[in-house]
Amino acid sequence: MKKILIALAALLLLVLLPFLSSPKLRAFPGIISAFYAKEWCSCHYVMKRDETFCHNYARQFIDIDQFENNEQETTVTVQGLGVTTRAMYIGEREGCLILE
C-alpha cells in the first residue's frame, strides 16, 4: 500500500512539474498586488475618482493585505499574497506605471 502511495505521489509530482516550473505560475502571486496598485493608481490619478470608488474598482477575488496611497509622491503601494508592488503616477500623458 505504501509503495502505491509513493508511486501515486511521484506520478502527481510528474504531472504537476511542468506547471510548477511555469514562469507564469510562479509569477501568479504578484498579479494581485500589481493589478490593484496599477488599476487603483490609474483610477484615482488618471480618471480622477475618489478613494472609495477606486477600491471598489480595483478589488479582486483575492483580498489584498496592505494598501498605501502617497498623494505627495503620487505612489500607490499594495501588498497581496506576500508580494508588494508599487505603482506611480508619472503625469497627464503617461498615466501610471508599475515600478516594482
Binding site: 509569477a27 500589481a34 493589478f35 490609474s42 480618471m47 497627464e92 500623458r93 508599475i98
Partner: protein, 400 residues
C-alpha cells in the same frame, strides 16, 4: 467495439482535416460609399435635438432606461453598469448621459479600444510613407528577425495572425493568461519583447487569434517606423491636435512603449472623435488623416479568419484590423455578431463594455463606457443599436 473506435477516430480526423468552405472576404465600406453631411466639432460639439435629428424622445428614453437601470447589486458588481452613453448623429450630439459619478470631463479607461487608436497611428505612418504593411515586422523590430518569425509581416500583426503562441484571457484564468502576465508581471518591463519571445505555433498569416500581445508588438514596430519613441509620441499628439482631442492619457510599459493593447484613457466625447474620423473615411473635416483605403482595409475581415476553424470564442468576433465588423460568414452559416445592426456597422471594443460604434449608413457614432463585470458578449452592444434605431422616426414621424 474496435470497429466503433476506429470509426469515431476516423470521423474526428476527417472533421479536423476538412477544409472550411470558401468564403467571400467581406468589407464594411463599399467602394461607392459617400458620407453624408457631417458636422465636425471644434473644442465644443454641436448639439441636435431628437426632433431635429428625426428621433423620438420616448425612444431615446427607452434606451437610457435600458442602459442605466441597474439589474444587479453594486456590492457584487453585477448587471449592466453603464458609465456613459453618447449618441452622435451626423456629427452632432443627439444624446449624452453619464452615471456612477462620471461626467463629460472624466477620462475613462478604454481597455482594448486602445487597439483601434494603434490602427490609426499605423494608418498615419502608411499615409506618410514611413510604414509598409507588407514588410516583415522583423525589419522594424529585430527580435522578430530570426528563424521562421521572419515571415511575420506588419499586416499579420494588424490582423492578429502572427502565429505566435498566446493565451488571451483575463480574470477568468489569471494563472495561465499571457495578457495578465504581460500587463502585470513577466512582461511589464517590455510587453513587445514578452510577446516576441512566444513560440511560433502556426505559419504566419494562417490562423487568427485574439492577441493583445500582437498590438504591443505592432506598437514597437511603429516606434521604429516613426523614427524613435519621441517621434512616435509626437505622432499621437499630432492625431490629437488634428482631431481636437484635448484630454488623453496613454500609459507606457517599462520600456516607454505605449500599452497599445489596453491603456488609453479618454473622455467619451474624445472617443467619439475617432468614430467620426472613420465614419468620414479618415478625413477630419477637410484634413485627410488616414486614407479612405486605410479605413476600407481596416474594416475588411482579417484574411486569416477565413482559414481559422471557428470555435465559440471566434464566432462572436468578426475581426478587421483592430476594428470589429458585422458580416458573419454566410458560407459557413455564421450570422452577423450583432443581429439588430446593419452589416456596415463596425466598432472598437474594450473590456468591461467600452465601445465606439460606427454605423455609416445611419450617420451614427455611439460611444458607451461601462464597468460591466459580467460577460455580456455582444448583447448590450446589439441592444443599444437596436434601441437607437428603434427611436429613429420614419419620414412620416412614426417609429419604423
Amino acid at each position: 467495439m474496435r470497429f466503433f473506435l476506429i470509426a469515431i477516430f476516423s470521423l474526428v480526423i476527417l472533421q479536423c482535416s476538412q477544409p472550411l468552405p470558401a468564403a467571400k472576404v467581406q468589407t464594411s465600406f463599399p467602394e461607392s460609399y459617400t458620407p453624408g453631411m457631417l458636422s465636425f466639432p471644434g473644442k465644443d460639439w454641436n448639439i441636435t435635438t431628437p426632433e431635429q435629428a428625426g428621433f423620438s424622445p420616448a425612444g431615446l428614453a427607452e434606451l437610457k432606461e435600458y442602459l442605466f437601470t441597474r439589474t444587479g447589486s453594486e456590492e457584487d458588481r453585477t448587471g449592466i453598469r453603464t458609465n456613459s452613453i453618447l449618441v452622435i448623429k451626423d456629427g452632432k450630439i443627439l444624446l449624452e448621459e453619464y452615471a456612477r459619478g462620471f461626467t463629460k470631463e472624466h477620462k475613462h479607461i478604454t481597455w482594448s479600444v486602445t487597439k483601434s487608436y494603434i490602427n490609426v497611428l499605423a494608418g498615419m505612418l502608411v499615409q506618410k510613407g514611413l510604414l509598409s504593411p507588407e514588410k516583415n515586422a522583423g525589419e522594424y523590430y529585430s527580435p522578430l528577425n530570426q528563424g521562421r518569425k521572419k515571415e511575420i509581416t506588419v499586416r499579420h500583426l494588424l490582423e492578429m495572425s502572427s502565429g505566435l503562441q498566446w493565451s488571451e484571457g483575463y480574470e477568468s484564468s489569471p494563472v495561465f493568461s499571457d495578457v495578465i502576465a504581460m500587463l502585470y508581471t513577466l512582461g511589464k518591463k517590455d510587453m513587445a519583447h514578452y510577446t516576441a519571445r512566444r513560440a511560433l505555433k502556426y505559419k504566419p498569416g494562417t490562423r487568427w487569434y485574439y492577441s493583445s500581445g500582437e498590438t504591443n508588438l505592432l506598437s514597437k514596430v511603429l516606434i521604429k517606423a516613426a523614427g524613435g519613441l519621441s517621434s512616435y509620441e509626437a505622432l499621437f499628439e499630432e492625431l490629437a491636435d488634428r482631431t481636437g482631442m484635448e484630454s488623453y492619457t496613454i500609459e507606457r510599459d517599462g520600456s516607454g512603449n505605449f500599452v497599445g493593447s489596453s491603456y488609453l484613457y479618454a473622455t467619451p466625447r474624445d472617443m467619439a472623435r475617432l468614430g467620426l474620423l472613420y465614419l468620414n473615411q479618415g478625413k477630419w473635416n477637410q484634413d485627410q488623416i488616414v486614407s479612405p483605403d486605410w479605413v476600407r482595409y481596416s474594416t475588411t475581415m482579417a484574411k486569416a479568419y477565413y482559414s481559422t476553424k471557428p470555435d465559440a470564442n471566434t464566432l462572436a468576433d468578426n475581426p478587421g484590423a483592430y476594428w470589429w465588423l458585422n458580416h458573419g460568414v454566410p458560407e459557413w452559416g455564421q450570422a452577423p455578431p450583432l443581429p439588430h445592426a446593419p452589416t456596415d456597422t463596425f466598432w472598437a471594443s474594450g473590456h468591461w463594455g467600452q465601445r465606439i460604434i460606427v454605423i455609416p449608413s445611419e450617420g451614427l457614432v455611439i460611444v458607451r463606457t461601462a464597468d460591466d463585470r459580467d460577460d455580456f458578449g455582444n448583447e448590450i452592444t446589439d441592444n443599444t443599436i437596436r434601441l437607437v434605431l428603434k427611436a429613429k422616426l420614419s419620414q412620416t414621424g412614426a417609429n419604423p
